[in-house]
């Protein structure tokens, strides 16, 4: 199954292994700063590495940084798959 290229995907919708560019981050101020410091900035490349079981966290890679985050937070990040 191929995922369509589109502007309005959420990070949580990527399939493991898929790469995308971050197009928007819709988080409150505190979380926005934390995400930015971890590399979640508009235009940055992101790859979904894997998902945890039982709707567990997502493991993503941004450049040289690996981050795990919950589905809820991944929903706040818009991406355009590559």
């Amino acid at each position: 199954m191929r995922v369509m290229k589109s502007k309005n995907h959420r990070l949580s919708e990527l399939i493991p292994g898929q790469e995308a560019l971050i197009s928007a981050v819709h988080a409150d101020e505190a979380l926005h700063h934390r995400l930015a410091a971890l590399g979640f900035r508009i235009g940055n490349r992101i790859q979904l590495m894997r998902r945890g079981r039982w709707a567990g966290p997502l493991h993503v890679r941004l450049g040289a940084t690996d981050v795990i985050l919950r589905q809820t937070e991944a929903d706040l990040i818009s991406v355009s798959p590559q």
Partner: protein, 598 residues
């Protein structure tokens, strides 16, 4: 004296560098957020003594969590002569903005690009001269873990410090100004990266990724993790058990061959106090030191490898159902070493309800002090083949009590704290780091030993031998009377008067209990174990251990909970709830087994 502060993002190796430069032994691990408080030490730089301060990691100067506030307060409120900014060289692109934020504060600064070994392996190349010119501060590429580039770093720090003139703390207004400048910082980062850093297009496939395919496997990940933990605890038991017995024998010999003849002239009272009280009590606890060092060496291996962050990934979904998150699980794991740093580690959580719920759960983790008590009792009562499994069972019970506690209290401590955690690569701990950790635990034990254990066993000896004329350890002594006082509560769970006294002192520090056994029963070594096995059956022993596991955090933990929660009411809850749970658990077990076996 001039002051240097180490500043940088979490898990960039600030504490490792701090230890390396100052010869200290601050706790380190491959986990973002080990250091949650300030540590400082003296360092000789260019012929002058300076003070070096190790700060908790911060993601940026906005500072929203408690550990980040610690840094902000220090920057705003205290004079700092030089900032040493520590950056993970591989992640320079992401971490440069923090460097630029800090530079705008106008404090003299030096950039230390740490983990040069990993950067090289990843194909990241930094032109330090160009970057230094661009930043307007010295740049050193180094590896704190292996000591590469250390002399250069020392030289640069010393020089920067002589040139630095005290310009006072950063002002709040200035801090605000800096923080509103995000766009400019982003542009400047991009420009510097283009000029001075070569990044590979794609990071080469790392061993770390291959390990993760197994360690984070959807089905195998969690079972593998628990298997690894089980093997570690078994190893501690198999290697540490004989060490403890050997040491016990040695202490016995020392007493018989050297101390008894020496103390023969002393009056009875003093002879008893010194030998049956202080010596017996102390050495019974001290015999466990090698085992505990071993235990912490293994813990250090787990912590330094990066398995903790994997555990957070693997357990987060389950922890979410309990109202906690993967970081709470990591703190619980740290709690298996000692509850105190684990409780402090919750500082990285911003939502207060999540912090409180974690703090309520952490003291239920079977810490190394309780492990000593269990090892002692289990090896006295159970066959060697059963013993490790009984101990393992108590770890399971420990988890169960946490689950019950979280389920009961999650409604009262609701939060929607975001869960966003860095996953560091797997790293090989150096021997130096692991040995340092062991040494840290020896020191920790010695300080507890002098503070609690010696005073504790003296107090217990006095209680079990006074008033004068009473039969030592008998019902007429103060201890006997105290025990009788608690009998109505403790008899239904199979705990006799003698053990009741031990429990009272376990409240101070759990390992005092073993010392207490020696003093209360008036024997040590094998004789004590045999007396133990004679005086109680396995149902009583397990009931007593269940109660010991759960009943109340030790005094240090309670004090930490009070400080961290800033609430006497919460600290009270953290004492009373486990006490109630302990009694209920032991009651159900003891009475249930008595019914079953009768």
């Amino acid at each position: 004296m001039k002051r240097i502060a180490l500043l940088g993002m979490p898990n960039t190796g600030k504490s490792t560098l701090f230890n390396r430069l100052t010869g200290s032994s601050a706790r380190v691990a491959n986990w973002a957020g080990v250091t949650v408080d300030l540590a400082s030490a003296k360092i000789l730089l260019g012929g002058h003594i300076a003070e070096m301060v190790d700060l908790p990691g911060i993601y940026d100067l906005h500072g929203f969590s408690d550990d980040e506030k610690v840094v902000r307060h220090l920057l705003e409120g205290h004079p700092i002569d030089l900032l040493a900014i520590v950056v993970n060289a591989t992640q320079i692109e992401r971490q440069l903005p923090l460097v630029l934020q800090v530079r705008s504060l106008g404090l003299p600064a030096v950039l230390l690009l740490n983990m040069a070994d990993e950067a090289k392996r990843n194909g990241v190349e930094v032109d330090c001269t160009r970057l230094a010119a661009r930043l307007g501060m010295p740049v050193v590429l180094m590896s704190a873990k292996y000591g590469v580039g250390q002399p250069e770093a020392m030289r640069v720090l010393a020089q920067a410090l002589t040139e630095a003139s005290d310009i006072g703390p950063a002002r709040r207004a200035q801090m605000q100004e800096v923080l509103s400048d995000d766009v400019r910082i982003e542009q400047e980062t991009a420009a510097m990266m283009a000029e001075a850093v070569t990044m590979p297009l794609q990071l080469p496939e790392q061993v770390s990724d291959r390990i993760d395919r197994l360690a984070l496997h959807p089905w195998l990940g969690l079972p593998l993790f628990f298997l690894a933990m089980l093997l570690l605890f078994q190893a501690v038991f198999w290697i540490g058990g004989p060490l403890q017995q050997g040491l016990t024998w040695l202490f016995d010999q020392l007493r018989q061959l050297a101390l008894e003849p020496l103390a023969a002239q002393l009056p009875d009272f003093l002879h008893g106090l010194l030998l049956d009280g202080v010596y017996s009590g102390f050495v019974t606890v001290a015999a466990f030191v090698p085992l505990i060092i071993l235990f912490f060496l293994f813990i250090a291996l787990v912590e330094d490898s990066g398995y903790l962050a994997r555990a957070a990934f693997l357990t987060d979904a389950l922890m979410a159902k309990l109202g906690l998150d993967g970081r709470s699980f990591v703190m619980v794991l740290m709690g298996f070493g000692c509850n105190v740093p684990a409780v402090m580690g919750t500082r990285m959580m911003r939502a207060r309800p999540l912090r409180l719920l974690s703090m309520l759960v952490i003291p239920l983790s079977l810490c190394s002090a309780r492990l000593q008590v269990f090892l002692f009792i289990v090896s006295a009562i159970f066959a060697p083949a059963q013993a490790p499994w009984v101990i393992f069972g108590f770890y399971l019970v420990s988890f169960l009590t946490m689950i019950v506690t979280a389920l009961l209290f999650r409604g009262r401590f609701k939060s929607n704290e975001p869960f966003v955690v860095e996953l560091p690569p797997w790293r090989v701990p150096t021997l130096r780091q692991v040995v340092m950790r062991g040494w840290l635990e020896v020191r920790h034990f010695l300080s507890r030993a002098t503070r609690f254990i010696v005073l504790g066993v003296i107090a217990i000896w006095l209680l079990t031998n006074l008033p004068l004329g009473a039969v030592p350890g008998g019902m007429d002594t103060y201890a006997g009377q105290l025990g009788a006082l608690f009998a109505p509560v403790l008899a239904p769970i199979g705990i006799d008067e003698k053990l009741a006294v031990a429990l009272m002192f376990g409240f101070v520090a759990k390992e005092v209990m073993i010392g207490a056994f020696a003093v209360i029963y008036g024997m040590s070594g094998d004789a004590l174990s045999q007396e133990f096995a004679r005086s109680m059956d396995w149902v009583q022993a397990i009931s007593f251990m269940l109660f010991t596991l759960i009943y109340t955090p030790c005094i240090s933990t309670i004090a930490t909970i009070k400080t961290e929660s800033k609430s006497v009411a919460f600290a009270t809850l953290a004492v009373l709830w486990p006490l109630a749970l302990a009694w209920l658990t032991s009651f159900v077990f003891y009475q249930g087994m008595r019914q079953l076996l009768s």
